[in-house]
Amino acid sequence: MKVKLIPFIFLLLIANALSAATISGYVSRAGSGEPLQYVNMQIVENQSGMQTNKKGYYVINIPEPGSYTLKANLISYESFSQRIQIQHKEEDIFLNITLSESYVELGTIRVSATAEEEVREIRPSYIHTSTEDIKSVVSPIEADVFRAILALPGVAPISDFSSGLYVRGGSPDQNLILLDDIDVYNPSHFGGVFSTFNTDAVENIDLIKGAYPAKYGGRLSSVLDVTNRQGNRDHHEGIARWSLISSSGTLEGPWHIGKIRGSYMASLRRTYLELIKAVYDELPDYYFYDGHAKINWDFSSRDKLSTSAYFGRDRLRFDFGSMLKIDWGNRTFSTEWVHIFNPRLFSQFVIAASDYTSNFDQVSDEDVLLMRRMNGIEDITNKAMLSYCPNNRHELDFGWEMKFNRTWLKMESTGYQIEESSLPDVDVWAHTGSLYFQDNWDMDEFWTLQPGFRLLWHNSLKANLKHLRKANYLSPDPRISIRRKLDISESVYAAYGLYHQYLTLLAADISTPFDMWFPIDASIRPGNSQHFLVGYKNQFNQDFALDFELYYKDYQNLLELKPSTNYEWDNDTGELQDVFYVGSGFSYGADILLRTNWQGLEGFVGLTLSKTKRKLPEANLNPYTGEGEAYYPAYDRSVALNIIQNFNISQYLGQRILGSEMKIGLNFALNSGQPAQKPERIYFDGDDFDIIYSYKDRDRLPAYCRLDISTKYQWFTRWGYIEPYIEVINLLNRKNVGFRNYSVEMNDAGSLSLKQRDSSQFPILPFFGVNVKW
């Protein structure tokens, strides 16, 4: 351990030895005071600069006294420029800046729309999306965070009915999903149709599809970092939405007590299928609700405190002879202290908690409990993220994370005489700690090197099942990226990272509320993955920008739930190795993202070419050798094309409908068919003729194609605007195949025939609703 800390301490000492004047401060949005991320900050005279961080903070070192010009630029915002006089080398100037939007635009897509020239940090596989971007993607019923993410290259949907994210060959449990820096587990409503995040409450989302930096860890595939809005620091405002099945409301504004100022944001959403049930009584009794809240205290220019909370719950009652009562949901709570020790040392300290629980009760007509199943995970996390900027060539990121998890699964049966030991009763506690360090080093005007390192350790703390062997793992995860600038807005880069995962999800092929997270025990090695990628970026002009990446991900100790678990579990002897197949896999491909802002067409075209394979020793069995054969999993997509475009008719063509500003949105998705089994032989099972199937990937379902459109009409008033909208999902009413069933049937003549039936995905679906902002 000591040996590993030496380079870290050495670099800090070197960094401390350097001295210069600084200009630092926060950049915020005019009219709301909310922080602006990734604003390009530059000293014109020496071309030194950086981008604001996620909190809107910047610091630029100025080695010599003199007169300088500070410029701030962000697409869609008016440029800022100010002369700065530096008197001496030790001078620290703190300058907060506000930027005004260059025009009012709701439907703008700005996916990672930043010119490359001033960015110090290398951000491979990185896509930044704002809440406006999310709302611009046409989604069933209402805008949805995951649906918007699914349109991006490198992210594969499994079906229309699921918002599970399969990022570059990784399964949903291999994505680290953070909401204000705390993990969110099983983040979906309505069996995966909606994500848990209300778009009105979300400030922005950072998706990192691979080779993610040392700041993050604990998952094999990707990071989805969601930040809640801070709320308007300037004035109170709100937005309300009504759609066919749900409504939501968001309020935000400033507050102050004495000299302490801050802001708040609160958002609530609820479905009301009950109203439809009042008309049509046979529907299941179902609803979900969720809420986000955030409150910020600006104690001083050096200290900010924020507290954020999220809660969401789904409830389902279904009578099928006996009554099923099911509910599930997440809660998170996070408190963050942002402190500036000195202009060069920026810090964030987080204490957070998160839980996910799901409950299932089967109750008889006589109200006798027949079966109960409860599972959940609790997470208490403390983390620190510090950034030290000793000079304009180095930016050192370092910090720690301590995470305590408790997970449980308990089943009880009073109505059934099921053997007690076969009903899981597992309650385990675990700890995962990590330290990280990363240097963003501009070696010269062309080359940037970003070495990083994350050290993780994982221990089982206690378990109710005494025979479970305690895990104790230490994993050093190196990360490195390098970039060569080819021109002012053109660069190539390469990145590598090693990743370990200690939490695993017990889930079948399709995600359900009953999916369970468990920390690994000593019977299973932690999963690990290596990411390799090379990329090319070019901001051709203001109209077009291109991101192109080639990637390869290798997965070892992949875990997949054994079907036998539900039938053969034994509390007295069971370990995780009895529950999972352990295998390996890989994924490689190319992602191309062409961003457009041309002739009023704003959006992007994404293309993915990829290949994903898995090999599990006991799955997809070769009948002759008894060994598992490698296969393309259901989320393998050879080709995926997405076109997301928005066009403001009023702004670009001058056309108005009844005085409203009219916008149209278009989503087009074309994916190659997903792998599937097909019948190869037939046999008699003692009662009927049945099918013997091929390997999991012998066939491919037909290609998936869907066109969605939306139109929005925006009437501006003195107090805000009214925005009715109409959406049509699957405008072409294409019968996209979700699943293909086969059966052997005997006809009247006594001969057998093979029947094929396809289950369709979304048919043509019109939606309408109204948004009101004041």
Binding site: Y416, V639, Y693
Partner: protein, 316 residues
């Protein structure tokens, strides 16, 4: 230079991505399968036969041609060293070829049996072994609630009528395991004896649908688990019943498995690991204990009862 390399790599990937990625066929030539469930206390007879089928491709659909008749099928009672050959009979009424034991040797509970199948032209012997569970007997009226014509019966011809709401609490699936208590692999099958018709009425309407829609017909007759055939399986515990002075395995809440009103066969078995895995595993034919072939060779103890599920007074 970089652009040219990128374009080249991208072009290669594009060409590769447009290829149709899928695996090779899983099976070669003829594939043999066995379906055999030895029932404790019974011989391998016309009611409980073994079936052997072969299939060379998916379009080979003549039912009688699928059944194997040219084979040597032998059963070994490993605990006693006894063995006997099975012979095939053609059941024209059911269009099936059944392999039965002409000597009518009784399958003994707790005994271990081995099956060996030799097929001309096939070099490997297809084989499997099973251990028969302890004896079990289905009690159709555990609580003694029934009366003539108003309770499930072991005899199909005399099945009684039971109201849906009472079907499980008054008449649980009760397997008498005699002197054996403890944990067993338990499988119950609730099988609707009615032929498909749009007059079939749901016991619990789903989304307002009260009768079976016509498009359900193929699914109704589909092999494996279906609306017609509901399976329940788990590791159940048999416990002592003072009332009956015996050990019983009870399933009290199962009436949801009566999807439609009508006649039912309710089978309940303790079964061995081969049959248990065959039933619950996806592609169970790979997990039924057969070496060099597919299907299952298992054993079970238990029986079947018959009942007609009708509307109760409240449901009328």
């Amino acid at each position: 230079m970089v652009k040219h390399i990128a374009i080249l790599v991208f072009s290669l990937l594009l060409v590769a991505a447009c290829s149709d990625y899928h695996s090779a066929p899983r099976f070669e030539g003829e594939v043999y399968s066995v379906a055999g469930l030895l029932i404790s206390g019974h011989s391998i007879d016309l009611e409980h036969p073994l079936y052997i089928t072969k299939s060379a491709n998916i379009s080979e659909f003549d039912p009688l041609n699928l059944f194997v008749t040219e084979a040597e099928l032998k059963i070994f009672e490993l605990d006693t060293g006894k063995s006997w050959e099975l012979e095939h009979v053609i059941d024209f009424s059911q269009m099936r070829v059944k392999w039965i034991d002409p000597q009518r040797n009784i399958i003994q509970p707790g005994y271990r049996y081995r099956m060996e199948l030799r097929i001309p032209r096939l070099t490997e012997i297809i084989s499997a072994e099973t251990t028969v569970p302890p004896p079990a007997e289905l009690n159709p009226d555990y609580y003694g609630n029934g009366s003539a014509g108003a309770n499930p019966t072991l005899d199909e011809a005399s099945m009684g009528e039971v109201a849906f709401k009472d079907a499980d609490y008054r008449f649980p699936i009760a397997l008498n395991t005699f002197d054996k208590a403890g944990t067993f692999n338990f499988i119950a099958e609730i099988y609707c004896l009615e032929e498909f018709s749009t007059n079939l009425e749901f016991t619990t309407p789903v989304m307002g649908i009260t009768h079976a829609p016509a498009e359900m017909e193929s699914g109704y007759y589909a092999s494996g688990e279906s609306m017609r055939r509901i399976m329940i399986q788990a590791r159940f515990a048999s416990a002592f019943s003072a009332e009956h002075d015996s050990n019983y395995l009870l399933l009290r809440d199962y009436r949801q498995a009566y999807i439609f009103f009508g006649r039912y066969r309710v089978s309940a078995y303790l079964c061995d690991q081969n049959y248990y895995r065959y039933k619950y595993m996806p592609e169970g034919y790979l997990h039924g204990g057969i070496k060099n072939g597919l299907g299952y060779f298992g054993s079970a103890s238990g029986g079947a009862m018959y009942v007609r599920i009708v509307k109760g007074e409240e449901e009328e």
